[in-house]
């Protein structure tokens, strides 16, 4: 099982290395979102600084939607999912392999977005450990959610428009908890940053459990 997960993850990362969609398209889009937020908030440094945590997570959520769509686009053509199942891979391994690859790509997106915050919004990080732990939990949760809903909409004609509608409401707890944790780490809130990170971990564990249960029904019919 672990070997199968690794194979799928490696396959997706190799495709990404060759196509560079995350690096060339998703990362610039996320950075563009950060720039556009500055337009919306009239480039007010105090407003941007106060909302930096939330703007980071909103931008990354957009990136996750794009990444999830891309993750299953590469399987929709030519019936690749059927081919993977014919090769003897179990649905759960396919789902977790793709989720792991998406999580790694989202970490890359997150690193660039965090750099964007530091440069564009002039924020100062007070707690790097909180940023890293909350960031990793949030990216993993986005990746699992994105993979689940990507599998749900793979091959559907309206997947492009449907995926954000399905994914964003479900990802709301991650957005909330991630934002609060980052606000604390960036010194814009005196909230309980680690409590919010614990909530992120609970969300992550729940999504993992849901993913295990849903992998079979989703990928059997994909």
């Amino acid at each position: 099982m672990w070997r199968e997960i690794w194979l799928i993850c490696r396959k997706d990362l190799i495709i990404e290395r060759r196509a560079r969609v995350t690096l060339i398209q998703i990362v610039p889009t996320v950075l563009l979102v950060l720039v556009v937020f500055a337009f919306a908030l009239d480039a007010n440094p105090s407003l941007l600084g106060a909302g930096a945590g939330g703007l980071f997570w909103v931008a990354v959520l957009f990136g996750a939607v794009l990444g999830a769509k891309r993750s299953f686009d590469i399987e929709a053509e030519g019936g690749n999912l059927d081919a993977l199942r014919l090769a003897g891979l179990v649905p759960a391994a396919i789902l977790w392999g793709k989720a792991a690859a998406l999580a790694l790509q989202l970490v890359l997106v997150g690193v660039f977005a965090a750099a964007g915050l530091l440069v564009l919004y002039s924020v100062t990080v007070h707690d790097w450990l909180l940023i890293v732990v909350a960031g990793l939990c949030g990216m993993a949760a986005f990746a699992i959610c994105g993979t689940l809903y990507g599998a749900m909409t793979v091959g559907l004609r309206s997947a492009d428009t449907l995926l954000p509608l399905l994914l964003i409401p479900v990802a709301a707890p991650v957005l909330l908890a991630g934002t609060r944790a980052f606000d604390v780490a960036l010194g814009t809130s005196a909230d309980q940053g680690w409590s919010w990170t614990a909530l992120l971990a609970v969300v992550l564990v729940t999504y993992i459990a849901v993913g295990w249960a849903a992998a079979g029904p989703l990928l059997e019919d994909a």
Binding site: T153, L165, L166, P169, L176, D191, V203, T206, D221
Partner: protein, 275 residues
């Protein structure tokens, strides 16, 4: 491969006389009861029930607002239960693997899930509209980032997505199972959404605003009985609409699965009978 529609459904549709009819004697009686109950409810809520000492006449919105969300929650719980049944009845190795759902029970539960979710969305929308109107009168604004409001709007959007997913063309088995998974994810996610939003607003809520509708006051007397009666009325109305929606979904399936020749033959029979 397209399977022949279930014979009992076909017979029921033929008995109904047309693919456009969803009524029966029982549902017509239920409909009359529902409409009469709504009339009595309007009388109780608008005239007999007294205005609230603090909220005045705006409290009358409660007789629509509270039963609406109660019916909506009932609809979503039923959707989750029916979805679990669909997944169970179509699990690997049961009732075929691809194409249409061969299992009759699974098809019925799938329709129940669809009809119940539609009801849930409809009554959640009603809850949001009445809540906003109440907020405008009481708080002076249509919207506050209160935990309950935020959770409700996320719930509404989640199930709109569920209905959108159901409407996408796909083989019936795949569509039913995919929708069932989404319904179960939505239910599992709901407490997380609720508690995270609640925590968010508890920690950051402005102290000057009391966002709890009605505060900690107990409802008594005519207001209490009117509210209970409204719950019962909304339940009957929801049941009535739900049964019709179930039948519409069934007839849509029949229409999808009936061959063109059968439909043409049916049309010719209708024309002959008309002459």
């Amino acid at each position: 491969m397209i399977e022949t529609p279930e014979p009992d459904l076909r017979q029921q549709a033929q008995r109904a006389g047309s693919l456009s009819m969803t009524g029966s004697v029982a549902t017509r009686v239920l409909g009359v009861v529902a409409i009469a109950a709504v009339g009595v409810m309007a009388l109780l809520a608008l005239w007999i029930s007294p205005p609230d000492a603090v909220q005045g006449d705006s409290v009358r919105l409660m007789y629509v607002h509270v039963p609406s969300i109660w019916v909506a929650y009932g609809g979503f719980v039923l959707t989750a239960f029916a979805s679990a049944r669909v997944l169970w009845r179509t699990r690997s190795g049961v009732g075929g693997t691809y194409g249409v759902i061969a299992d009759r029970q699974a098809r019925r539960w799938d329709r129940v899930a669809g009809a119940a979710a539609e009801l849930g969305v409809l009554f959640t929308a009603l809850t949001l509209v009445t809540g906003s109107l109440w907020g405008k009168v009481t708080w002076g604004t249509y919207w506050q980032w209160d935990a309950r409001l935020t959770t409700t709007v996320l719930l509404f959007v989640t199930y709109l997505g569920y209905l959108a997913l159901r409407r996408l063309p796909a083989e019936s088995r795949a569509r039913a199972r995919r929708s069932a998974v989404m319904a179960l994810i939505a239910v599992v996610n709901l407490p997380i959404v609720h508690y995270s939003v609640d925590w968010w607003r508890t920690l950051h809520q402005e102290a000057s605003l009391n966002l709890e509708p009605g505060g900690d006051r107990n409802i008594t007397g005519e207001m209490y009985w009117t509210l209970l009666y409204s719950w019962a009325t909304f339940t009957v109305v929801a049941l009535w609409i739900g049964i019709h929606r179930y039948r519409v979904l069934r007839l849509e399936e029949l229409a999808e699965e009936a061959s063109l020749e059968e439909l043409l033959a049916q049309r010719r029979d209708e024309q002959a009978a008309g002459r």
